[in-house]
């Protein structure tokens, strides 16, 4: 296969982005768009003039013989759509984060996906050079040396928005919608297969008026704190930051920079200094890199090693469910 035939299910902001990048890689071509909004379908039909199949019926993808499906719908719909897609015999399935909205569903999906299908979850932050550099740094450090890790995932998407969704409410809540990026990065950085949640709470501060979710956990024995909010002023685009404190130094990394503080010295490296231009820049380079890595794997028939697998996705969903369980147990007085 030189080029994968790709279907996008859910043509909102993320669907449009991934579809454009699929075409830009030269490794895939969007041949079908599935959405449930009738007006959108009509508009897309006129726009693409039969060059792309536009439908509300996933079953139609079988006729086209799609190789790859991207699911970019709201999180609560991922599971049912993915189960339907897995009947199509596609070779690759990309699900925008998070995998599903529960560990049970994610596990069922993991157990259903066949060996010949490459399943990937859209945790694109793994493709930012600063975090890849941090992974290299952590691999050279004994876990015993790490005193603590603090991570945040912030945006100002809902800052000042009237009727903003509850922190743990629709759209999967801020934990799934945004905090999942920090969770995935921590589990990936520490090669974790397990974790234990110590506590979870919601704090309200002036700089995050809609509240901030904080989780304390032990990941591979390392004391970790994750904070997430989608009404944090100054975070124009969603951003993840991680501080790793060891006996010798503190390493702070976010989407843009690496700052190492050691013996009263500060060493700063910008992401731009680590980065090679991508073939096509839309949104941010990591989206291109992730889609390219995934499609390259499908076309070559290899496992997408650099991408987050379904197994990784299950672990993130488990972590979030466990945090919510601890929170609910605590707030219900049990």
């Amino acid at each position: 296969m030189d080029k994968a035939k790709v279907a996008i299910i859910g043509f909102g902001k993320m669907g449009v982005l991934h579809g454009a990048l699929v075409n830009a890689t030269g490794l895939g071509e969007v041949v079908a768009i599935v959405d449930k909004d009738r007006r959108l379908l009509k508009a897309l039909n006129e726009l693409f003039r039969n060059k792309v199949r536009v439908t509300d019926n996933i079953e139609e993808l079988r006729d086209i013989g799609v190789d790859v499906v991207f699911i970019t719908t709201p999180i609560p719909s991922h599971y049912s759509i993915a189960m339907e897609v897995l009947k199509l015999n596609a070779k690759g399935l990309f699900i925008e984060k998070t995998l599903t909205d529960s560990t049970d569903k994610s596990n069922k999906l993991l157990n259903t996906i066949g060996n010949g299908v490459i399943g990937v979850v859209g945790f694109q932050k793994r493709f930012i050079p600063t975090f890849r550099k941090l992974k290299d740094l952590i691999q050279n450090v004994s876990l015993n040396e790490i005193r603590s890790i603090r991570a945040y995932a912030y945006s100002e998407d809902f800052l000042g928005v009237r009727g903003a969704p509850g922190l743990l409410g629709p759209r999967g809540g801020v934990l799934r919608d945004l905090g999942s990026h920090a969770v995935d990065l921590l589990l990936w950085l520490l090669n974790a297969k397990d974790a234990s949640i110590i506590n979870m709470g919601i704090v309200r501060t002036e700089d995050a008026p809609c509240g901030e979710v904080q989780i304390n956990a032990l990941i591979n024995g390392v004391d970790a704190t994750i904070s997430t909010s989608w009404c944090k002023e100054g975070f124009r685009v969603p951003e993840v930051g991680i501080s790793v404190i060891t006996d010798r130094e503190e390493v702070f990394v976010n989407d843009y920079e690496i700052v190492i503080r050691r013996d009263n010295t500060v060493e700063k490296t910008y992401e731009a200094q680590l980065e090679e231009p991508v073939r096509y820049l839309l949104g941010a380079p990591e989206y291109y890199r992730e889609d390219e890595a995934f499609l390259r794997s499908v076309v070559a028939g290899n496992t997408a090693l650099d991408c987050a697998s379904f197994r990784d996705g299950v672990l993130v969903d488990w972590f979030i469910d466990e945090a919510l369980r601890v929170y609910n147990a605590h707030t219900s007085g049990r």
Binding site: G12, L47, Y256, L281
Partner: protein, 288 residues
């Protein structure tokens, strides 16, 4: 040579490290931004490149009496950040509805016509034409005259090109030209976008804005292809991010740009402090 003041610092944007822009808090005081633009003009800048937003419209109102007619306004539409943020909150369809409501409130007949058609049919071309009229009207209301160029934002251009929807872009660029304004395209994928548009007759009138710097920062797919573009298409490109968002010193950055002074249409540089406006004096010295 157009040497334009860029607006990123006025929106609190620093591509190199958003955390640094956050630490500095951006420029919330419009009167200070106005002062910076006028000081930059005195130092050698002869125009202002901006994404059309409430902030930059307020700056335009502030500078209109302090600049002469030859001060160039290059307007980019839309201010994508606001639209992306809104689409996160209300979804794409909700965004369209909100836009149509905003346009109908302006009582601009042309914009309303296209917006209503776009709202009824979700027609992309009509939606973009409504956007052109709506934003053009806002610039004229604030500045008192049309901008020199009206450019389509990279979010529109760089998204539509991979879908093969070049006809849409070309039609909207023709529409902008029909309004008596130089049509423009802002992109971070200049060679690819130019190749897609090169067979359309509008290409002769289109100007481009794209990153142009010594380290290839945000120049996809490669700096070399941008340099080749500039040499082959003199007078077409306004380079931005020439300082690579602060990665380069002004002199190093501008000495690189000066190698292309006979080919570039202009450059744009953002400043956030009074002490930085001397970069325009240096630019004038090196670029003419």
């Amino acid at each position: 040579m157009h040497i334009l003041v860029g607006d990123n610092p006025f929106h609190g944007i620093k591509h190199l490290a958003q955390s640094e822009a956050r630490f500095r808090g951006g420029i919330r005081d419009v009167s200070y931004a106005v002062k910076l633009v006028l000081m930059s003009r005195d130092a050698g800048a002869n125009g202002f490149m901006l994404s059309v937003s409430d902030t930059t419209l307020a700056i335009l109102r502030g500078i209109r009496d302090g600049v002469t007619n030859d001060f160039t306004i290059a307007a980019i539409i839309p201010y994508a950040y606001e639209y992306v943020r809104k689409s996160t909150v209300v979804g794409v369809i909700g965004l369209v509805k909100e836009f149509v409501n905003n346009v109908t409130r302006t009582l601009n007949i042309r914009a309303m016509y296209h917006a209503l058609r776009a709202g009824m049919n979700l027609d992309l071309v009509d939606g973009l034409k409504a956007l052109v009229d709506y934003e053009l009207n806002r610039v004229k209301d604030s500045y008192g005259s049309k901008p020199w160029t009206l450019m389509l934002h990279e979010l529109i251009v760089d998204t539509l090109i991979p879908y093969g929807l070049v006809d849409v872009i070309a039609e909207v660029l023709e529409y902008i030209r029909g309004r008596g304004i130089v049509p423009g395209v802002e992109t971070r994928n200049l060679p690819t976008v130019y190749d897609a548009l090169r067979n359309y007759s509008i290409i002769d009138y289109v100007v481009f804005a794209a990153p142009f710097n010594a380290v290839g920062f945000q120049m996809s797919p490669s700096r070399e292809l941008y340099e080749e573009f500039v040499r082959r298409n003199p007078g077409k490109l306004i380079g931005f991010s020439v300082l690579a968002s602060g990665l380069l010193s002004p002199r190093d950055a501008l000495e690189y740009v000066a190698r292309f002074r006979d080919y570039l249409l202009g450059i744009s540089i953002g400043v956030s402090r009074e002490g930085q406006v001397s970069v325009f004096k240096l630019a004038r010295e090196l670029l003419g």
